[in-house]
């Protein structure tokens, strides 16, 4: 398994979301932070909602930003597609300050989106959401044959895999040869 954090699907830019006003803490004004994904669309999220993400929580806990500073310095997550980040922000807002339910049925049904969400959630270290996502991924192939699993999870067969690897090697070899030729040309 390779470890990649790069989402690849493109999506329409989403409108910035505004976190609902928290009625639970009237005395201490809630602080907000700003995040954006690959599409640069900025989302305003409360610190309470962001607590779900161990990564962001760790980043903001010692910053002591003022509202203006936070607005001026949104956290860039260039490796996360805009629509996926929107899903994550929505989930964090919905579950702000609430105990998470044993199951979440609102996850994307489309496997490409689900896989991208898994990668984003794993990167942002949102433990509960990652658990739901992984469970959903596992359920996709329950009772299926190896061939069906290959199709559902988009896994190449060993033969296809080897062919692709050969092709890549060949390409890399050609490129290297090209570079050497170019370098030789430069030297001249």
């Amino acid at each position: 398994m390779s470890s990649t954090e790069q989402g690849t699907s493109s999506a329409a830019p989403a409108e910035p979301t505004t976190a609902p006003e928290s009625a639970a803490a009237p005395e201490v004004p809630e602080s907000f932070y700003y995040v954006h994904g690959k599409d640069k669309v900025v989302h305003k999220v409360s610190a309470g909602a962001l607590q779900h993400s161990a990564l962001i929580h760790g980043m903001i806990s010692n910053l002591g930003y003022t509202e203006e500073q936070a607005k001026a310095n949104p956290f860039p997550f260039e490796n996360i597609d805009g629509d996926i980040l929107q899903m994550v922000v929505d989930w964090c807002n919905q579950h702000k300050g609430k105990p998470t339910p044993p199951e979440d049925t609102n996850l994307p049904k489309q496997k490409e989106k689900l896989f991208d969400l898994v990668l984003a959630v794993n990167y942002l270290e949102i433990k509960e959401l990652l658990t739901y996502c992984c469970k959903q991924v596992a359920m996709m192939v329950k009772g299926k044959s190896p061939e069906e699993i290959r199709e559902i999870w988009m896994i190449p067969t060993d033969a296809e895999d080897e062919a692709a690897e050969k092709e890549a090697k060949k390409r890399a070899g050609k490129e290297a040869a090209g570079e050497t030729a170019a370098a030789a040309g430069d030297a001249k």
Binding site: S3, G7, F115, A138, V141, K142, P146, I155
Partner: protein, 351 residues
Amino acid sequence: MTSIMEMPELVMEKIVGFSDFKAVLTLRQVCRDFQNFIDDLKDSKLPDSEISEIEIISKKDENKIILRFMHSPGDYHRVEYSEMENSRSFESEEEEEENPRRKTITDLGGSNVVDVAIRDLELVLRFQKSKLFTSYFQFDDFRLLNDSTIHTLPTRLSNMFNVSCPRIKTREIRMKVYDSSQILPILQFADPTNLSLLEICSMDNNMEVDSKEIVETDYWKKANEVHCDFHMSNLKVEDVCHFYNITLKTNSFNAKDMDTLKKAFLSLPEHSIYDSWTIRLKDFNESDELSNLWGPPFDFGFATAWHFRLKDLKKNVLQIYSEMDDSQEYNIFDFTIMGLKHVPNGAVVHY
């Protein structure tokens, strides 16, 4: 487009953790990367197979090894390894399916059937988290079949349980043996800690076993139920007093020993109506001594019986029923708990 193969390992571990046993075995067949990933996982990351019964059998007439895994009654997997056809056949039956039997046969190529069977068993046992209800072992006598390698199966299993795989945790060990020398090695496949039943049957009607070694094992001491269908010599009364259920044959007990057994049965802690001992005594000729110790028995004509009060089950009694078996070789003594109202008219209930 993101593929599952790009997921970080921790994520994949979580996904495997949410899959059930059958799904993980299927995942291993998806591709080599998956197989390697699953084989490298720690056993604790794998789901529980929830298998309740395992049978490991070798059959001489067909040169076969059979592994049978039962999840619940009616839901089992049976894997047959045929040395003649060099194949593995996999058959499953599930209650809820319309067409219940599915059978797939794989050609094993140049692989040895014992190697493949051991490898498969080892893989399945990695998923065994909960204790098994029953483990059954039966190995035919392959000693005279020189061209078969199946005779190595018990030794290979011993090695596997000693080296690469923890011993089976099971409530019941059942086995069928052709020779008494098989008993102790087979027992070693299991962990005695949770054992409650030990059943040893013989393929040879005339098998006789010296009980000295077996009664010293933890398996014998931990079990509270023992069933043996062969003759046991050198058995002592104190070797059997702790069992709630017994079936055995011996020539070791005299009338005084039977009296000790009666007292032991009566003083078992927490009787249940299912407690029962069937002890077959060869050449027992001390019936008169028993009558002296226990008083005159009730005479059924073809059998005799004594009845004794139980302290904890007031509405029940212990009946010791005695008759000769069909071969006229053994005197059968049946210790059972029965309702007071079923004691025959005229029988004395002793205190």
